[in-house]
Symmetry: C2
Subunit: 170 residues, 2 copies
């Protein structure tokens, strides 16, 4: 009887130790669900052309790293960047997350994006496909916000326009 | 006297609580030093044209997200990507880290890069400037390796070549 109790205690201690080790990077289903909702809210803000809603998903000190321009620092500048983009184009963005990792109050989300960009002044719709990596940070109120965001295109840039006229065909 | 003791105890409890809060994302100087060394080793591998050394700084399941192409998955494919790049060009890369955050066994490093690319077949050197975001993961042996890597250029892509000849000047 005593022996069985000792065995049970040993087993319990081992299980508890295992749980504690895993606790070093806890990814609760609540965290993953919150990050999934953040992604959906971002897609919805893009589709609605709602720059304020899009910017509200970023932390106050967030940094956006958009291809073809220097870093955009802070939520106010991020709001301005979305206002300008949405004034010029209708954006239809879809995010296909391939992984989300949570480590304490930080997380990252990585995947593929597809963006349909239609100029409001007219002209053909352009489809962009690429990769994204987003760092998220849990806020004091328990919500998750985008802290760092970067992406790039899967397509090579177009060949540069010739600087001199092409020689005439013979 | 009792009052002073109570005040001292309150102060001690407050200080301890503060320390515990900061402990949730411990960034030891050893971790930060290891990540700084990883960055230096990466620059050295580029300068030496040493693809094997460059690839050895990535974890086995690392993902490289290079502008203009799909994701490169796993260390073997990453090695092949460096071999090809270094066969074509001499690369001189410098990384200017702007922040490193450690959260348990995960970390991210963000900053600016400058890359001087000189074609081995001849031709002008091209300078690329941009932003990078790297996720690092502590390995079982305590070393840090690159887990995810993405960057993009600060410069907009060149204007596409005209599909029809320009009208003649009048």
């Amino acid at each position: 009887m005593l022996r069985s109790l000792a065995l049970l205690l040993t087993l319990l201690v081992a299980l508890t130790a295992g749980a504690c080790t895993r606790m070093t990077t806890p990814a609760t289903s609540a965290d993953l669900k919150a990050i999934q909702e953040l992604r959906s809210n971002f897609e919805a803000a893009m589709a609605a052309g709602d720059a304020d809603k899009a910017a509200s998903l970023y932390g106050p000190d967030a940094i956006r790293m958009v291809e073809g321009q220097p870093s955009i620092m802070g939520r106010e500048a991020i709001l301005a960047s979305y206002r300008m983009a949405m004034a010029n184009d209708k954006l239809e963005l879809s995010l296909n997350s391939e992984e989300t990792k949570v480590a304490g109050d930080w997380a990252f989300d990585r995947g593929q994006f597809m963006n349909h960009v239609t100029p409001k002044a007219g002209g053909p719709m352009v489809m962009e496909m690429g990769k994204y990596l987003v760092i998220l940070q849990k806020q004091a109120d328990g919500s998750w916000k985008v802290a760092r965001e970067i992406g790039n295109s899967n397509e090579p840039p177009p060949a540069p326009a010739p600087t001199a006229p092409a020689p005439p065909a013979k």
